[in-house]
């Protein structure tokens, strides 16, 4: 059991000060490095058991993963591969063909290709993500989170709300 003064001091100041600064004050006050590290481990283990450090105001739903499982998921390369794979497929390939689309006369062989990529790829990824949920959960969650971010949140907020409203007001529509 660590010195309660030691633990209290760390808990009081860790939201504002860095660990190095707190450790320096404790070392200057005569605490040993071993005691300081043990106190930090005790505080982080106690906070990790319930919520993130420090405990933010989060309501736990039945669908939410425990914090340790969340960290494991985010530490999985496959999750990030799925997430950024969606980004590459959705925006990267379309961007490569975008300069070839001729807006002056409205015709280009690449318009239907971009159309297929824009509409077909999200559907395919949604199906793939749903099917992979049981067999490869990190990849599936990466794909599904990627679809949510790049096909729902980004287009809605960036293109419709911000640019739509600003442009409409400037052009007097």
């Amino acid at each position: 059991m660590n010195n309660p003064n030691l633990i209290q001091y760390i808990e009081q100041h860790r939201a504002q000060y860095t660990r190095e600064a707190i450790d320096k004050q404790l070392l200057d006050a005569g605490y040993s490095r071993a005691d300081i590290d043990a106190a930090w481990n005790e505080i982080e283990a106690g906070a990790t058991g319930e919520q993130a450090v420090p405990p933010p105001a989060v309501t736990q739903s039945s669908q939410q993963l425990p914090p340790t499982q969340q960290r494991r998921l985010l530490a999985t390369p496959v999750f990030w591969l799925g997430l950024f794979g969606v980004l590459v497929l959705q925006y990267g390939i379309a961007a490569l063909f975008f300069p070839a689309i001729n807006y002056e006369n409205g015709s280009s062989v690449f318009v239907p290709i971009v159309g297929v990529l824009t509409c077909g790829v999200p559907i395919a990824l949604l199906i793939a993500g749903s099917l992979l949920l049981k067999s490869n959960r990190p990849l599936a969650l990466g794909l599904l989170y990627g679809l949510l971010i790049f096909d729902v949140i980004i287009p809605f907020i960036g293109a419709i709300i911000i640019f739509g409203i600003c442009v409409a007001s400037l052009s007097g529509v």
Binding site: G30, R71, G158, F163, L170, S171
Partner: protein
């Protein structure tokens, strides 16, 4: 000067876009490593990070919109997405937009831990890599100069640009200045960040230094002057820099930089005045 890195028929790979993407990926990788090192990975950090990227993307577009409103009011026959893809972008707006998005997302989640220190090494690395793309794809490089390191460009490179003032003279390599600054900043952050006592101050110190440096570099950058002889980025940097200075002044006045001492460990006593005087006398005798 290579504005187009690779072209095969309709397939075009732009130099600027490639290096911007590489910089963003490198920055995200460093950011992820910092989160993992500090044991801060969680679903809240994930969504806060997504908000940062969104805010950065929106901010980098909006920051330049005021410089050419006619461009946006002329929208009529082409899709909005075309204007979004071909409008100007500004990294200052990207950083400011991302910062604001993080503040709002953290309030929404009730997340109180400072995350700035995780971004501190990521942003200068991303900036340095991104600026390589700018150096290879933008003209003019800077205003004319007679300094020994002034750079000239070939006629073939100039031909890529419809308007290119100063291009037939030796120019300040302003992007090189910025690349050097960000690399030095990265090294200083990695070497001395343990000395910064307040969470988040490492990032704010970097942003303040970066803002001041960018303000000065703009005098040799060759950008169009907007108001009172100042370029668009300079005009925007004034209030942003003022906010950062206000933050540090407010922290200092609230005594944040005088960290409260820790309670003494058991068996350790605070030396009395007599003890200190005796120790000082002993030290003087030893010195003599």
């Amino acid at each position: 000067m290579f504005p187009i890195l690779y072209q095969n028929g309709p397939f075009i790979l732009y130099t600027h876009d490639l290096f911007t993407s590489l910089g963003l990926l490198a920055g995200l990788a460093v950011y992820y490593f910092e989160l993992q090192r500090r044991n801060m990975l969680s679903h809240q950090i994930f969504w806060i990070s997504v908000a940062a990227i969104l805010g950065g993307g929106i901010g980098c577009r909006l920051i330049t919109a005021w410089e050419h409103p006619a461009y946006y009011t002329s929208i009529s026959s082409v899709p909005l997405s075309y204007y979004i893809a071909h409008s100007g972008k500004g990294i200052i707006g990207g950083i400011a937009g991302g910062y604001l998005a993080i503040v709002l997302a953290k309030r929404a989640f009730g997340y109180t831990i400072s995350t700035g220190d995780c971004y501190a090494p990521a942003i200068p690395l991303a900036m340095a890599i991104g600026r390589i793309g700018c150096f290879f794809s933008e003209l003019p490089l800077g205003t004319p100069t007679n300094l020994p390191w002034g750079m000239t460009v070939s006629d073939a490179a100039i031909a890529h640009f419809q308007v290119c003032p100063y291009c037939y003279e030796k120019m300040h390599p302003s992007m090189i200045y910025e690349i050097i600054f960000h690399l030095v900043a990265l090294l200083l952050i990695l070497r001395f960040r343990h000395l910064v006592m307040v969470r988040g101050d490492t990032l704010k110190l970097y942003l303040l230094a970066s803002a001041i440096f960018r303000f000065l570099v703009e005098f040799v950058r060759g950008n169009t002057e907007q108001i009172a002889g100042l370029t668009g980025p300079q005009v925007v940097l004034i209030p942003l820099t003022a906010l950062l200075v206000y933050h540090f002044v407010r922290q200092w006045r609230r005594g944040v930089y005088r960290m409260p001492p820790a309670p003494l460990a058991a068996g350790v006593y605070a030396p009395s005045e007599a003890d200190l005087r005796a120790r000082l006398t002993t030290d003087i005798h030893i010195a003599e």
